[in-house]
Symmetry: C2
Subunit: 185 residues, 2 copies
Amino acid sequence: VRSVVLEATLAELAAGGYPALSFEGIARRAGVNKTTLYRRWGTRENLILEAMLELGRERVPIPDSGSLTQDLLEYGAAIVASNKTPEVEAIVRAVVAMGQSEPRVAEASRRFWSTRLELAGQIVERAVLRGELPPQTDANLVVEAIVGAIYFRLLMSGETLDSRFVRAVADLVAAGATSEPGVGS
Amino acid sequence: VRSVVLEATLAELAAGGYPALSFEGIARRAGVNKTTLYRRWGTRENLILEAMLELGRERVPIPDSGSLTQDLLEYGAAIVASNKTPEVEAIVRAVVAMGQSEPRVAEASRRFWSTRLELAGQIVERAVLRGELPPQTDANLVVEAIVGAIYFRLLMSGETLDSRFVRAVADLVAAGATSEPGVGS
C-alpha cells in the first residue's frame, strides 16, 4: 500500500500542484480507501514529507573524472537529470512551499541538503588532494554555487536549463575556486 | 481597497503559507466582503500574482562602487535584505509552488527575473568597461550564480544566510569571471 500511495501522491502533485492536492484524489488514483490515508498519514503534509524522503534516498552519483571542471559539470548534469520528471519537480516545489510554515518539512529539507552537499564535497576534496585547489577551499560553497544556479533556473526564472548552461556554470565556479586562494577562508 | 487587500494577502501568506490561503482569511484581515474579492480577483492565484507584481515594482538598487567584487557583494546583500520580511519570503515560496501548474504565474515570474537580471547585468557591463572583465563575459550567468546561491539557502537548504556567506559567494563568482576568459562565450 505504502509505495502505491506515495507514487499516487507524486502523480497528483505533478498533475495539479500542492495546493490542489487532496486525500480524495490520492485515494482515487491509488485505488485505496480515503480513511486508510487519514488513519495512516493524518495530513497531506505528512504524505509529501514521506514521499520527499523516499525520493531523497535515490543517490545522485558523485563523479570522479580526475578534473574539477569535469566533475562539477557531471554533477550539475546529474542534478538536472534527477529533476527532469514532473513528479520530482512537483515535490521540490511543494517542499519549498511548505518550508516556511511546516517546521518538520524545513528540518527534513535542511538535513537532506546538508547530507547531499557533504557527499558532493568529495569533488572538492579530491581536487584539493590533486593540488587543483588550495586546502582551505570551502567545499560547500563550491557545490552550492552549482546547485543554486541550477535550481534558480528550474524553480524561479524558468530559463533554459540545458547542457550549455550547466557547462558555463561549472566553468565559472571551477575558475573561481581555482584562482581565489581565499575563498571561504 | 486594492492595496489593503494585497497587504492582507501577503500577511495571510506569511502567517499560514500558500496552501492555507483563503478568501475568507484575506477578507477578514482586510475588513472587506468576501464577495468583493471573488468579484474582483476570482481566484487566490490571481491575488498572489497581483501581489507579486506589486512587490516586484520595488527596485533592488544596482551598486556602482567601481569594483566588481564589491558590486556583487552589495547586490547580493540587497537581495538578502529584500527577502528578509516573512511576507516577501512567503510570496516567493508561493510563486515557486504555483510555477508548474499555473502558466500565467510561470510567465510572470520569467518576465520578472529576466528584467531583474538584465538590470543587474549593468554590474558586469561596467566591469567590462573598466577592463576588469573580458568583453565576452556572460552577464546573466554571473548574476545568476550570486542570486541562485542566495535563494538556494533561503528556500531550500535553510542554512545561514549571513554577510559572510554573501561575501564568499561574491568573491568566488568575481574570481571566476575575472580568471575565466571563456565564460559564457
